[in-house]
């Protein structure tokens, strides 16, 4: 599959799972997109470790030092899977996978070249030495435990936005 086709399929499937999806090219567009998505008056946790995170971090006037105290987490994630519209979060490099779990809004930045075609491709890449925690995230937290009626935002984020760069 071409890079563009793979990226498009990924965002299509992510949207089907109720994620907000955004495609940008370059840092400038990324920052503009973040400006539209993130509520600037709420505390934002951004690790500021990767290049894209470093570029994004100064954008937020209220920074939360701890993700537990944040309303929003903005982070670059390990990768994504086109087949299922899934983002992939891992614990390597001292990254806290829970940062994308506790705040009510999770904004995940994905680099286009980090999108895998299928689940098989992803697991072939990580199965040799999996990280302590590898979490596949598809859409926001949900339940249907009451009369099988879909309710969004149980214990995890009620809003997931994905920005494909």
């Amino acid at each position: 599959m071409s890079d563009t086709g793979r990226g498009r399929l990924f965002l299509e499937n992510a949207a089907k799972a109720a994620a907000g999806t955004h495609a940008v090219s370059g840092t400038e567009e990324l920052l503009a997109s973040l400006g539209r998505i993130v509520a600037m008056d709420s505390p934002v946790y951004c690790p500021g470790v990767t290049e894209l995170e470093k570029a994004a971090a100064p954008l937020f006037p209220v920074r939360a030092a701890e993700f537990a105290a944040a309303a929003v987490t903005v982070e670059e994630v390990f990768g994504a899977v086109a087949e299922t519209g899934t983002i992939v979060c891992v614990s390597t490099g001292g990254r806290a996978v829970q940062a994308g779990l506790l705040p009510a809004h999770h904004v995940a930045i994905v680099r286009r070249e980090r999108v895998f075609d299928t689940l098989d491709d992803l697991f072939a890449a990580v199965a040799g030495a999996p990280p302590t925690n590898l979490t596949l995230v598809t859409g926001p937290s949900r339940t249907a435990d009451i009369e099988l009626t879909l309710a969004i935002g149980v214990h995890g984020p009620e809003r997931l936005d994905i920005i494909l760069v």
């Binding site: 499937n13 089907k16 799972a17 537990a68 299922t84 519209g85 899934t86 614990s91 001292g94 990254r95 806290a96 996978v97 829970q98 779990l101 299928t118 689940l119 098989d120 992803l122 697991f123 072939a124 990580v126 199965a127 030495a129 999996p130 990280p131 302590t132 925690n133 590898l134 979490t135 596949l136 995230v137 598809t138 859409g139 926001p140 937290s141 949900r142 339940t143 249907a144 435990d145 009451i146 009369e147 099988l148 009626t149 309710a151 969004i152 935002g153 149980v154 214990h155 995890g156 984020p157």
Partner: protein
């Protein structure tokens, strides 16, 4: 509780369940919805049969080499830094977990959904030891507040409607009454968030265990599974030995089958693959990871003629299509696992003496076999258990005599025709003597028998 917690009461429980109109309405609505969602989810999967074959073959391989795979998992998980405990039976599992928690002074425990923990009755044991155990899956939270047990392995509170949940939350949590699932969900989120952040330990189950990497895999939607396994400093996972997958690379086939079969989702919101505890320099995961591998009769099942039930990956699709389960719900079965897979597993795990009425809980229609993603031959297994029931002397005298008479008549066309005529003639009498039970449940014999209507 309206149902007796023993499978010996199955008949009595079914009669009571059939009279409970709220239960029947909830079951019908839920299982119909499941059926539609499952069909929609599988529709775009091009080579579904090949996928089922592949998953079935992987599960066959696991069972054929189970001791080897379990040893390999123990070695891999240990290498990754987890502490693995083998538990022979339910009592050993309970005591092992209580010991782990007590040794570390853990008092406040948050728990993710785990049917194996229900099987060993873990909560009451920990509560008796003075620990606070909070179920955090919304469905489990609801039934824990109500003091009930799950009635479905995927949707534990499937038997309750939104008004019952609303009243329960108002009574027990002191919140204003609402019957809006979105509002009720937010109430649970708030109540449980505090529990997660202050917990000393988390207990989870696992859907799969990969033997090459020592990873445990959890499929969840709410995020409570992620909380339980990564927020408290101590994580204890309990799983039964047959949950092995040879390799983490085998997981995608099951990720495609399990959520579609269970809830009609392409994939669950979250799939957590946990390999060992947090290592120095890491910021994710419990500092200590203990994995309790439960046998509780599996090794014995593996050696017998019902071994294929251990292929089951607990999706619940068989119960959603079962005409018996759909009518009576999960509590009537009297133990942890209901529906077709449940009646088989219950009989094997608790013994024929404690569960023999359950082997009748099937019409042998085969709907379960059609939907099983890993091709468990459920009908063959049920027939095998029925043979065992008769051979072991648990069939009633009436049933044995009746079957003997039927056997002779069915072997002789003349005798069969005579019996049919007699049945027709004596029907009004049987109806008046048997009362509502017979008249309500048994159809009257046809005026013209089927064999005479066939060309």
């Amino acid at each position: 509780m309206s149902h007796e917690q023993t499978s010996l009461a199955f008949r009595k429980n079914t009669v009571r369940a059939l009279e409970d109109s709220a239960l029947r309405a909830a079951m019908k609505q839920a299982t119909d919805t499941f059926g539609t969602k499952r069909a929609d989810a599988f529709a775009p999967v091009a080579d579904l049969e090949a996928l089922r074959d592949r998953a079935s073959a992987i599960r066959d391989d696991v069972l054929a080499n189970l001791p080897m795979y379990v040893d390999r998992f123990v070695a891999s998980a240990t290498r990754a830094g987890a502490v693995v405990h083998r538990a022979e039976d339910a009592a050993a599992a309970r005591e092992t977990i209580r010991g782990i928690l007590a040794d570390r002074g853990a008092r406040r425990i948050v728990k993710g959904k785990s049917m194996v923990s229900e099987e060993v009755d873990l909560n009451s044991h920990l509560e008796a030891a003075g620990m606070e155990v909070v179920e955090t899956d919304l469905g489990e939270y609801i039934i824990q507040l109500e003091g009930e047990t799950p009635s479905h392995i995927i949707v534990p509170a499937i038997h309750k409607n939104r008004r019952q949940v609303g009243r329960l939350f108002a009574d027990r949590l002191g919140v204003p009454y609402s019957d809006d699932p979105q509002v009720l969900t937010k109430i649970a989120r708030k109540a449980l968030r505090e529990k997660f952040l202050s917990a000393d330990a988390g207990i989870s189950g696992a859907n799969f265990a990969a033997t090459d990497t020592g990873s445990i895999v959890l499929l969840t939607n709410e995020g409570n599974g992620r909380m339980v396994t990564s927020v408290p400093p101590l994580h204890v996972a309990i799983l039964s030995v047959e949950k092995m997958l040879p390799s983490l690379a085998d997981l995608p086939a099951f990720l495609r089958l399990l959520p579609r079969s269970a809830t009609g989702q392409t994939i669950t919101s979250y799939v957590s693959v946990i390999t060992g505890p947090r290592t120095p320099g890491e910021a994710t995961g419990a500092k200590e990871l203990h994995i309790v591998l439960l046998d509780n009769g599996r090794t014995e099942i593996l050696a017998g003629e019902s071994r294929d039930i251990l292929k089951c990956i607990r999706c619940g699709a068989c119960m959603n299509v079962c005409p018996v389960y759909r009518s009576v719900g999960g509590h009537a079965y009297g133990w942890t696992y209901p529906g077709p897979m449940g009646m088989i597993l219950t009989t094997l795990l608790t013994g024929m003496r404690n569960s023999h009425p359950l082997v009748d809980a099937s019409t042998l229609c085969g709907a379960c076999v059609e939907v099983c993603p890993v091709r468990v031959p459920l009908v063959d297994l049920i027939l095998g258990l029925r043979r065992r029931k008769v051979c072991e002397g648990f069939a009633g005298r009436g049933e044995r005599r009746g079957m003997a008479v039927f056997g002779r008549a069915a072997a002789s066309p003349g005798l069969f025709a005579l019996a049919q005529r007699l049945a027709g003639a004596f029907w009004p009498l049987a109806r008046s003597l048997g009362g509502k039970d017979v008249a309500g449940r048994m159809p009257a014999p046809a005026k013209t028998p089927l064999r005479r209507r066939m060309p």
